[in-house]
């Protein structure tokens, strides 16, 4: 049972345009959500997070939106740059324990 779902395995976007990566979750106990970025042969790095008490968090070119009623979150990258090409993992945390549940990732390609 996959509690965090990233249904798009890949996404291609032109440089300068918006990239939108989507994530759905099923566990209503999740109260903290994170996005990680991963380059090949490297460990994932933290990108941005959002608490369940918020519906938006912004950090530079990156914005995460949370729709709790739909159990859906999305990551917006504006404008997209070639260096953003990577695999993006959505993750969710119940907070009570220390374990974070990851989606399977979406591979973003930003075309120059």
């Amino acid at each position: 049972d996959q509690q965090v779902k990233q249904n798009s395995p890949s996404l291609s976007v032109q440089e300068g345009r918006i990239s939108i990566l989507n994530c759905d979750y099923t566990n209503s106990m999740f109260d903290y959500f994170l996005w990680y970025k991963k380059y090949p042969a490297e460990g994932p790095t933290f990108l941005i997070s959002i608490s369940s008490i918020k519906d938006k968090n912004e950090d530079g070119r990156f914005t995460v939106f949370l729709n709790k009623s739909a159990k859906h979150l999305s990551l917006h990258i504006v404008p997209s740059q070639p260096g953003d090409s990577a695999v993006y993992f959505c993750a969710a945390d119940t907070g009570g324990y220390q374990k974070v549940t990851f989606g399977i990732g979406t591979k973003l390609q930003v075309i120059p």
Binding site: A41, S49, V100
Partner: protein
């Protein structure tokens, strides 16, 4: 600042051989430590976690084991590798504000 070291970066091992991957953390005490595996098309799968010395919890049944002999050391082992053990192994520690900080990973190829 906290750092996490993981080695080796790449490893090619024959089927049936043993495995030992090591992870150490600096700049923090009593960290929660994790071993993840990224297999093709499978995302990040939690294998083991540890909340303290000698305390290991396994998330999925498998051919691997983990140990935590010291506060900031986490080891992933196998007595006999299988082809299906191939993957990208990641060690991580928990920073509650930012989820995990990951090591640089070990690419294991079992041949």
């Amino acid at each position: 600042s906290q750092t996490i070291h993981q080695w080796p970066a790449t490893l090619v091992q024959p089927v049936g051989s043993p495995l030992s991957l090591e992870c150490t953390v600096e700049g923090t005490s009593n960290p929660n430590l994790y071993w993840y595996r990224q297999a093709a098309g499978r995302g990040l799968q939690l294998l083991f976690y540890s909340v303290g010395i000698g305390q290991i919890s396994s998330e999925v049944p498998q051919n691997l084991s983990a140990s935590r002999p010291q506060d900031r050391q986490f080891i992933l082992s196998s007595k006999k590798l299988l082809l299906s053990d191939s993957g990208f192994y990641l060690c991580a520690w928990r920073d509650r504000g930012y989820g995990y900080t990951f090591g640089s990973g070990t690419r294991l190829t079992v041949v």
